[in-house]
Symmetry: C2
Subunit: 413 residues, 2 copies
């Protein structure tokens, strides 16, 4: 059985994508299933219902990662795992993560439909909290699986209502699961929408991801003294707002140093937030990225130096900065990525090498075992957005590449 | 009976200020009683309990304004009303508004304690929603009383949870009250903390307020297109954040045109507000003030022209501006304000003329009937802040000035 001899059921894949999107559906056409909420759990149960129809074995671990197994001929070998996530951003899209999970299910069912026995088992993995919008850090489940974060640390993480990851894991029963990391994975594949415009702009269908950007996340606060908007003369205020303008300029100056750099202020909050009160405190987050680790280090240095200069100039307010996450550059497995290119070429799908601008669970996996990441285009490069869209043809193309690579890897003896 | 012959009970005034502050008390030493919440209603009931001990007649109107009457010898004349508000800012102070209401109660009780019969009735008025932080516009109750806003309009106003003023008025039974404006007022007095540093800086105890700043409020939005923080090249983003820096600079440039001008960005929200999502939309409010109407008009023109220039330069985002409120310059009654100066001088209290930087219910009243506004200092000029403080001596001094002016006005035949 070689690449391109069998294909996934594209109609079934699309139907399931649309069914999943109904859970937490938003008026703007997206989905809202924040991790470890009732909506997220409902999405997982829908997925597990489909798995149950095939009789696949299901296990989960104590951080809520789900492992679905299609047994192979030799189940003493470590499995090929294909995975992604089912949680979404707030008012997020229908494809980010979900496509990767449902395409993995397509791979297993297509093997069934064609009565193909693989040598090694083939697993689907659903990682907990890839998005990181309700609980930080992002890619939490894969990070705990790989030993990057401790279970204790992530269990104590709180959302903005004060609810902990641990309490939510207990509520859904995941705390009864396997010790994280106990479930071995031999090789790892992930399909994801690109979340950027590069493939669409070049008319390419398959992105063979060579590596991922290095990322640093920061929390920054500007502390002044809140007061009424009218009485206090402007010169006597301890007002953090003018400094915010300087911080924005600095962050974007850092992000514009070369074309591969990115800088983003994602969260921005002024307290107390009343129309006739000068805010006493402004909190923001900064996300800096670059595909070269050395360049990201330079961006970090320029950012911190700029803030030091700003603090020296703005004596009436206190500027504080904390780096809360650093994801180093990641490189994917050459052989698996070459198999991705060969599958695309064999199927007549335009393919190109790309760098991932977003973080993915595959980043953690790539540091542990041979891994590959496959991209398909999304319309206008939009993601983390209700309008996020990838066509049925592109979704199927990505799933077929997963199938081809799985056949090559899992059938080799 | 002349000015200075009797004085209020300063110990009782302070005790009641501290008792009121316990309702909605915050860990930082302030109070949190947003208008028409359970906490606001509890504060009103505490106040009405004190009024009931004296047997004063109490009425309320359909927007929740409360009228407490100490009868005079000639109850066919229109009353002298002394008032302010009991609602607070989010995590606000213990004195803003509350001092004016409790000082008014002191005036009535001191008249009782000294068995003084006035000619005209003397009323206390508690105005609904002076703060404007939960429901806009601010000074809502006095505005409806004076016919500036319709009851229907304010009833349909929603808070950020979608609850309406009307539903809250119904819940507390105020909708059964008098038609707003039916309760006539002949003259109006209000005591308030200054909410700025001018009196403290000059060692003055009493501010005789000549007039109030003109105020304009705006809602401004910067609309781009949200997207993931990593994949999309910076040049291809439709990112409103850099334009925010230009808006901040513009707003502060407008507010720094002369020493009497003020400009404030109070509410600032970036959506969706996730660390790895470039916000697609930023909403903010702008508050511009000046004691001269013509200068405020120039500030408005400079602000709007600056935004037009910015829109011309930033083609990838849409900038929209709406003026949501305009409070013209107000001037207080010469005779009543002169009575304030004479009272202070008679009691040996340092007095100076000031301009009010904040809006007050007295602004609406001053356009309808002869009115005066009296300020006492607050520490460091802080207000709309948990650390807001005025000393027992200054609180009492302000209440005694109210008493003196009330005696002069209400006893004159």
């Amino acid at each position: 059985m070689g690449m391109g001899d069998v294909s996934i059921n594209s109609e079934r894949l699309w139907r399931r994508l649309m069914a999943m999107a109904e859970i937490g559906a938003t008026p703007g056409g997206g989905s809202h299933r924040l991790t470890l909420t009732d909506e997220d759990e409902a999405g997982r149960q829908l997925f597990l219902g489909w798995c149950a129809e095939r009789g696949y074995d299901v296990q989960y671990d104590q951080v809520g990662n789900i492992f679905v197994r299609r047994a192979g001929g030799n189940n003493n070998t470590q499995p090929l795992a294909i995975g992604s996530h089912l949680d979404t951003q707030p008012r997020g899209g229908r494809f980010d993560g979900i496509l990767g999970v449902l395409a993995a299910l397509e791979v297993l069912e297509t093997l069934d439909d064609n009565e193909i026995e693989t040598d090694m088992p083939v697993d689907i993995v659903v990682w907990t909290n890839e998005e990181g919008s309700r609980f930080q850090p992002a890619m939490m489940g894969s990070g705990v699986h790989c030993g990057v974060h401790s279970l204790e640390m992530v269990r104590s993480t709180l959302d903005d209502k004060g609810l902990s990851v641990g309490a939510e894991l207990d509520r859904f029963g995941y705390s009864q699961g396997l010790v994280p990391g106990a479930r071995a994975i031999g090789q790892y594949l992930e399909l994801h929408i690109e979340q950027g415009p590069v493939l669409e702009d070049s008319g390419t269908v398959i992105g063979a991801v060579k590596g991922g950007q290095a990322i640093r996340w920061y929390e920054l606060s500007l502390q002044g003294q809140e007061t009424h908007a009218g009485p206090v003369p402007m010169a006597q205020r301890r007002d953090p707002m003018p400094a915010l303008a300087r911080v924005i300029d600095l962050v974007y100056q850092v992000g514009l140093q070369d074309e591969a750099a990115r800088s983003t202020i994602g969260v921005l909050t002024a307290r107390p937030g009343s129309i006739n009160v000068m805010p006493g405190r402004i909190d923001l987050t900064v996300d800096l990225r670059h595909p070269l680790e050395t360049r990201l280090k330079e961006m970090d240095a320029a950012f911190q130096a700029g803030l030091d200069d700003l603090q020296a100039a703005e004596r009436k307010i206190a500027i504080s900065l904390e780096e809360i996450w650093h994801s180093p550059v990641v490189l994917f497995d050459h052989a698996l990525t070459e198999a991705v290119r060969q599958s695309a070429t064999g199927r007549g799908l335009p393919v190109q090498d790309v760098i991932s601008g977003a973080g993915h669970d595959a980043f953690h996996m790539a540091r542990a075992v041979p891994s590959a990441l496959v991209f398909v285009p999304c319309r206008d490069g939009l993601s983390h957005n209700e309008a996020e869209y990838t066509s049925p043809e592109h979704a199927a193309a990505g799933a077929n590449v997963l199938l081809d690579v799985a056949l090559r890897v899992a059938c080799a003896r």
